[in-house]
Symmetry: C2
Subunit: 290 residues, 2 copies
């Protein structure tokens, strides 16, 4: 009973799941307004309240996943500059015990990395059983910035969609549940956020003139995202479009996706593999300390 109420609370109503509401459609992200609230809270205050209770449950489920130590979760965060990948890590991933979380940030590849297959450095950062892995950018950069900047020929990046699907199927088969989130912001919102960085001396270090160069190719990036999301949206590794103009909605949505995922996994804390009574005796009557 209590469990059912909780479920309704997280998904924004008994009627449907957050995953169903946010899963990318064949139209791609363009059909989703960046300030939409298709499911869940409709105000900042409501979102904050819900996020707190989601946090408690996420924390417990993550501990169980860690204790079970058999399966993992991989959260992939993608989005334009300022879309809130870092903020999501701080405010959503930060709700969980840092011991069970593994965060990998993928910057422009080094020369050494470029001499390997594009998936090489990604495989090295996969979560192990029991962990929640978080990718701040990912292998998708190899069909996004690489495509827009024409760093490889078209047939090379096009082939990567299939390579990515095979890779993610392999990751899933190895026990990871893959949750891919596109943090979807508008060009206007990006402008506001870039200006906010420029105007606040405490934030100026976050501003990179290169971000404006990237911005000049806004529509090319949107097209690249649309193609990547629709080409690499599989049952086993679906893409979710997170309306991200509002930070509170973004945080609630990603936290809720994680929560639904962990509830479905329903990790089980393993029972004792030893004799509890005998161990109790070892520690009391026969305390071996010396």
């Amino acid at each position: 009973m209590a469990k059912k109420d909780k479920a309704a609370g997280a998904s924004g109503g008994a009627s449907g799941s957050v995953r169903d509401a946010l899963r990318v459609t064949a139209d791609g992200p363009a059909s989703v307004p960046t300030d939409a609230t298709p499911v869940g809270p409709t105000s900042k205050a409501e979102a904050a309240e819900r996020l707190a209770s989601i946090g408690t449950e996420l924390h417990d489920l993550q501990e169980a996943l860690y204790a079970e130590s058999a399966r993992s979760v991989l959260l992939v965060l993608q989005g334009m500059d300022t879309s809130g990948k870092g903020g999501t890590i701080e405010h959503v991933v930060g709700l969980m015990n840092p011991q069970g979380v593994r965060i990998a940030s993928f910057k422009a590849p080094t020369k050494a990395e470029l001499r390997h297959d594009f998936l090489w450095r990604v495989r090295r950062q996969l979560p192990v059983a029991g962990q929640i892995g978080v990718f701040d950018r990912s292998h998708y950069e190899d069909v996004l910035v690489v495509r827009v900047n024409e760093l490889v020929a078209e047939d090379v990046w096009r082939d990567r969609y299939e390579q990515i699907n095979e890779f993610e199927a392999e990751v899933a088969a190895a026990g990871a549940t893959v949750v891919k989130c596109f943090l979807h912001i508008s060009a206007d919102e990006q402008k506001e956020r870039l200006l906010a960085r420029l105007d606040d001396p405490a934030k100026q270090w976050k501003y990179n003139p290169g971000d404006v160069d990237v911005r000049t190719r806004w529509s090319a990036y949107q097209q690249a995202y649309a193609d990547a999301l629709t080409s690499c949206h599989t049952d086993i590794a679906p893409w979710y479009v997170i309306p991200a103009d509002r930070k509170w909605y973004r945080n609630w949505a990603v936290a809720s996706l994680l929560l639904e995922t962990l509830r479905e996994l329903a990790p089980v804390v393993p029972g004792p593999t030893y004799d509890v009574t005998a161990e109790r005796a070892r520690l009391t009557e026969a305390d071996p300390i010396s």
Copy 2:
């Protein structure tokens, strides 16, 4: 003025620093009661209140360290089973932005790791500039469990004290401030905690019968810790003895050591390396979006 008040708040009085109060002495940890409160709060409620305000400041200083991206901090956590290494990570390290934290947990080495020098796997986990690295156990295991279980000859582990001192000097020279904490609990407190794990089905998975085997060698371990702490206590990489029978004191103490360390480092958020006015114009009058 405000800064000075804050400093007093964290160190438990204007009179001295937490680092001074907790630094190991030539007598080793045995001279420190495991339930002592030599500095700082004397009640759970007071500790909780202080920890919250320490958390806020830690968070801001860590962001500045990350922004500065020139230096790092390495927090080494050592202690007997149940001494609270995991709890410290959850409650102290968890106060900071997970993006700037790198946690490494050192279990028994694998066969492949054993074919390398004992410091090999440790070097690979060092924090990079801007990060706070956390070692959950560390290279010290190679003069603790390795010594007690006689896994190598005495001259081999004895030589390691000097090797460790040289290694830590090298790490410090490369820009890391090393903070080493021995979580100091009593044998009685360990017994209570082990029994608590046995008695709570939700915690039974944390109980490992091997921990009781280790417990049989309690005094050998205490001796190994005393020698390691006094032999590897240097100006550049000091050891702190954290009375850890009370979890609230342990958390406050480790958080305060980190806070003092970061305050002293006083990381500076870098100013803009670009022309703010020109960038503003690029984003407004000449918004290049397409």
